[in-house]
Structure formats: C-alpha cells, structure tokens
C-alpha cells in the first residue's frame, strides 16, 4: 500500500501536518484511539510548531501501544512514508540472542534489509560506540550522521591527538556503509541501550534538516521509553505466569500426596472404602455455604485448609492395629480407647509440617462434640475450630450412609434426620443448616 513513495509528495512545508494526519488515521484505524486535534487543522501552523504538535500527540499516543512491535512498525512507517527515504530499519536488543536483531524495515526491495536477516553483536563498532556512549563525544545529540563523520575524519585538527576516536569513527563509517545508512539514531531507556534506528538517504537526495534531526531524537526517546515499558510489562506478565505455574504444580503435588496418604489409610479399612474421599467432598460442599461467615474469613486460606484437613483427618489411624480396624463385632472398651487415640496421633504426625498450618489442630478436634462430650479434650462450642466442626458432621453423615461392620447402611434421609436431631448437641447448628442447604442443592449425594 505504499502509494505515497513519490518524493514530490513530501514537500517540506506540509510534511509534519501530513505526518500528523497519517498518524491520526492509522490510530483511529488500528487502535480506536481518538485524540482531539486543533479544529483549524495543524496545516495552518508554522512548520516548527507543526512538528511540535505532532510530537506532543505522538508521545501521548505511544503509551497506548501495548505491543512494542506495533509501535515500532508505526514509527518506521511514519518516517519512511513522510520523509521519503530510500530505506529505514530498526534493530532491537534481544537478550536471549545476545545481539541486536532487525525488527522492521521499509524501502524498495533490494535496498530494504529483510526482517530477521541480519543481527549485530556487541562487538559491532556501531553498537559498541552507542553502548559505551562514545557517540556523545562525536555528536551533541548522540545521533550519528554519515556526512558529519566523513567530514570529521578529514578535519586533521579536530582528530589530532584523538587517535582512538578517529579509529572508531572509521569503523563506524564502514558499518554505516554496509547498512547504507545516512543517519543512525540510538534508542536509550534510562541507562540501557536498547536499539538503533537506521535511516538511508532521502529519495530527493536532500540532507536531513536540523528540525528533522531534533524530531528524530525526541521520537527516539519517547519510543525507547514506550518499548522499554512494553517489554517490562511483557516480562512481568511472563514472570507472573511462571510463578502461577510453579505454585499450581507444587500445590498439585501437595494435594496428590495428601490424597495418596488418605488412600493408604482408607485401604487398611476395607469397610470404609472411599470414606476419606467422600467426607472431603461433603466438607467442600458445606464450606461453599459457609465461606462468607467471619469465622471462615478468619482463616488464612479456609477452603485449602479444609480440603487438606478433610483428606488427612483420619491419618492417625495409621497407629490403630489392623485387628481393631477389621473387627466385625462390637469393639471392647479397651479397643474403643485405642480408636479414640487417632485424632491426637494424627495431629502429632502433622504438626511438624509447618506448611500445613492449622491442619493439625483441625485433625486433632474433629471428634469433639458441640456440647463438649467428645474427645480428646472435651472442648465445646466455638472453642472447637470451625473446620473440625464441619468434618465432625460430614464424618458422621458418611458413617451412617456407608456400610460399616457394626451398622447396616441407612438411607440418607435417616442420616439427615440424625444430623437434625443432634444439632446443637453433637453438632454445630450452623454447620448442620449449611449441610442441609448443600444437601438440598444436590451437592452432597449427586444422585439425590
């Protein structure tokens, strides 16, 4: 779509206003941006003011570009189309390649350097001089201009006693010849040298004016800032994703370890097969109904703690002998005392694991009763932590609805009635009502 390549269309007197117009069109087009423009039109302003208006708008608009590549393409486009130059290219530093890579270019085929075709390393004299800021010894603005460098080398007086700089100018001239560059503009963001804008000669063969040079400098500064910001945002986003992944992976490993442990406990007790899994899912369903209450909000991570505590609430049964777990008849008093040890044993197993936080405490109290007649400590009411109270109700519900050696399977309705009957005595009434809500929503037994 390069219909504007005819140099006659790039008249100096209205170049800036055209550039301004072009930029507005492109932005309205691609970004949906609309910036108020002087209704009388910038064409009526003096040329110097004209490009200042353009610059002000440009720097404001640059912030809108989230993708630096799009911004770069736009800068190169503006310069190429409006100034009528043989070719333009922009190279940006790519950390993972440890070099400067050509990101975008413009110009006639053959003169234009193909995108991705060349790279420049830090040993390249042109890159080196910009990176070491020695360009400021040669040029006040830091912009390197081919003709000026040539003239400087011829001026014996100026370079006398500065052999080193003269040598590097010579090498830079050679690099500019390779690129067919007339002007090279460095892009700095704060302390970092992040890229270079390369411009070929004007199609009209005219020299670049002082105004144009100043414009390039300002544009380069703004562009550098926008590019650096965009890159920063991009790398921050990548970092956030990485951390998220890492957390998710670790979390998955942790939950799976807990599940494996729970399954190991379940496996020892053939009559309660799947007990832990079911209790955990009931707990999570009840938690959904309670997640807004102050007591739940007081937990650092209510759901997470509940999930793990649910999975591990019977881990202390690891210390209960098989002969007791598998016994078909009623337990003797002594045997029952052994079973009652499991919450304390479980808490003892889990408490050294710092990462588990409150989990050990919840495991310890999941056999307490709301009226204080439970074990191991006989604490009551809200002295029993909320998660332990939830586990207690869900544990009881599953005991009633599952086949056990000492009790035939009962219907869920009977279990619900039992929960209601013991609400306020064995169970926390709040937990029971949350359980009923979840049950009615079909979250407890999917089929119901």
């Amino acid at each position: 779509m390069n219909l504007n390549r005819n140099p006659k269309q790039h008249k100096n007197n209205n170049g800036w206003s055209k550039m301004h117009g072009w930029m507005m069109d492109k932005l309205v087009d691609t970004e949906g941006a609309l910036i108020p423009v002087n209704p009388e039109g910038p064409a009526r302003l003096k040329p110097e003011l004209d490009y200042q208006v353009f610059l002000e708008n440009a720097s404001r608009l640059m912030i809108r570009f989230k993708k630096p590549e799009r911004l770069i393409r736009m800068i190169v486009n503006v310069i190429d189309e409006q100034l009528g130059i043989s070719h333009a290219a922009i190279l940006l530093h790519r950390e993972h390649k440890n070099s400067f890579v050509l990101i975008d270019s413009k110009g006639e085929s053959g003169v234009r350097i193909p995108v991705g075709f060349i790279r420049m390393t830090f040993e390249n004299p042109l890159i080196k001089i910009f990176n070491e800021r020695k360009n400021y010894f040669i040029s006040e603005t830091g912009v390197l201009v081919y003709d000026t460098l040539k003239a400087l080398l011829k001026n014996k007086e100026a370079i006398n006693g500065h052999r080193e700089i003269a040598d590097s100018i010579d090498l830079v001239i050679r690099q500019m010849e390779l690129l067919k560059a007339i002007v090279c503009i460095p892009l700095y963001n704060k302390k970092n040298f992040i890229g270079v804008l390369v411009l070929g000669e004007k199609v009209s063969k005219h020299k670049f004016t002082r105004h144009e040079m100043g414009f390039f400098m300002t544009l380069a500064n703004d562009a550098a800032m926008a590019i650096a910001n965009a890159q920063l945002i991009e790398s921050l986003q990548e970092r956030v994703e990485e951390i998220k992944d890492l957390y998710n992976r670790e979390h998955r490993i942790f939950i799976h370890t807990a599940i494996a442990l729970a399954a190991a406990i379940d496996a020892r007790d053939p009559y309660t097969h799947g007990h832990t899994e079911r209790v955990t899912s009931y707990c999570l369903a009840v938690a959904d109904e309670l997640s807004g209450i102050p007591e739940a909000l007081a937990y650092k991570n209510f759901k997470e703690t509940l999930h793990i505590a649910g999975l591990l609430h019977d881990v202390g049964k690891i210390g209960t002998p098989d002969s007791i777990l598998n016994k078909k008849g009623k337990l003797t008093k002594k045997e029952y005392e052994r079973v009652k040890e499991h919450p304390v044993v479980g808490a003892a197993i889990l408490s050294p694991i710092q990462e588990l936080g409150d989990v050990a405490k919840e495991v310890k109290y999941h056999q307490e009763r709301y009226d204080g007649k439970g074990y191991p400590e006989g604490i009551k009411g809200s002295d029993i932590p909320l998660i332990a109270r939830i586990i207690a109700a869900c544990d009881a519900f599953d005991a009633i609805t599952s086949d056990r050696p000492y009790r035939q399977r009962k219907m869920a309705e009977i279990a619900i009635r039992e929960l209601q009957a013991n609400s306020g005595t064995q169970f926390d009434p709040l937990v029971v009502s949350a359980f009923l809500l979840a049950f009615e929503k079909g979250k407890i037994l999917g089929s119901k």
Binding site: S109, G110, P114, F117, R119, L178
Partner: protein
C-alpha cells in the same frame, strides 16, 4: 567481473543480497529454488554460490549434490538457520566451503564471499 549466485526462496533476501554485492562489483544472479539454481550454474558458471539450506522445492543439501554433478569446483557457502546446523556435516562432505547462520552478521557475509572469490584467480 566475478559471478556469484544467490539461492534463497525468499525473494526479498535474494534482492537484498544481489543489490549488496552488485555495489561491490560482482555480477549477481539469483535463483528462488534448487531447480532454478542448477539451471543458472549450468548456464552462467558462477565462481561462488550462496545456498540457503531450507527451501521449499528442493532442500539445500540436495541442490548442492546436483550442483556438484555439474561443477566439482564451484565455491559454495551454505546459509543456515541455527536449528539446521546438523545438516552442515552433509554439506561439508559435499565440499561446502563455509556456512553462515541466519540472522547473519553482514560483515561476515561480505568477507566470506570476498575471500572465496579472491583465491580462485
């Protein structure tokens, strides 16, 4: 004037390299693929071929094999992407003189072409 042939299926690259070496006083031919390249080698007998490894019609190694059947002595410089480096052994066996990896350093391209065209005569 020394003749060189640039083989690449990207027209933009052919154009750029052609222009680049014409300014350095070479006669430059271009070919957009393997078959085209073989035809030009037969007809123009260039003293050097810049040969891209990855091409759609016939890959660089196969093209080099066919070029060797026509001209045993022509200097060939392979142009490769980093990931094609393993193919360089095959290219070397077929007598490729050097390889340049893309994205390339312009100076290296220039000096490689100059040094392998200089030694010929």
């Amino acid at each position: 004037m020394k003749k060189i042939l640039v083989v690449d299926d990207e027209m933009e690259i052919c154009d750029f390299v052609k222009h680049f070496f014409e300014e350095r006083n070479y006669e430059v031919f271009t070919a957009f693929g393997g078959f085209d390249a073989i035809r030009v080698v037969k007809k123009e007998k260039p003293s050097l071929v810049l040969l891209d490894i990855k091409m759609s019609d016939m890959d660089g190694i196969e093209t080099l094999e066919k070029i060797r059947q026509i001209d045993k002595n022509v200097n060939v410089i392979m142009v490769t992407a980093v990931e094609d480096k393993d193919k360089m052994q095959a290219a070397e066996r077929l007598g490729a003189r050097a390889y340049i990896t893309k994205p390339l350093v312009l100076e290296e391209l220039e000096s490689a072409v100059m040094s392998y065209t200089k030694e010929q005569k």
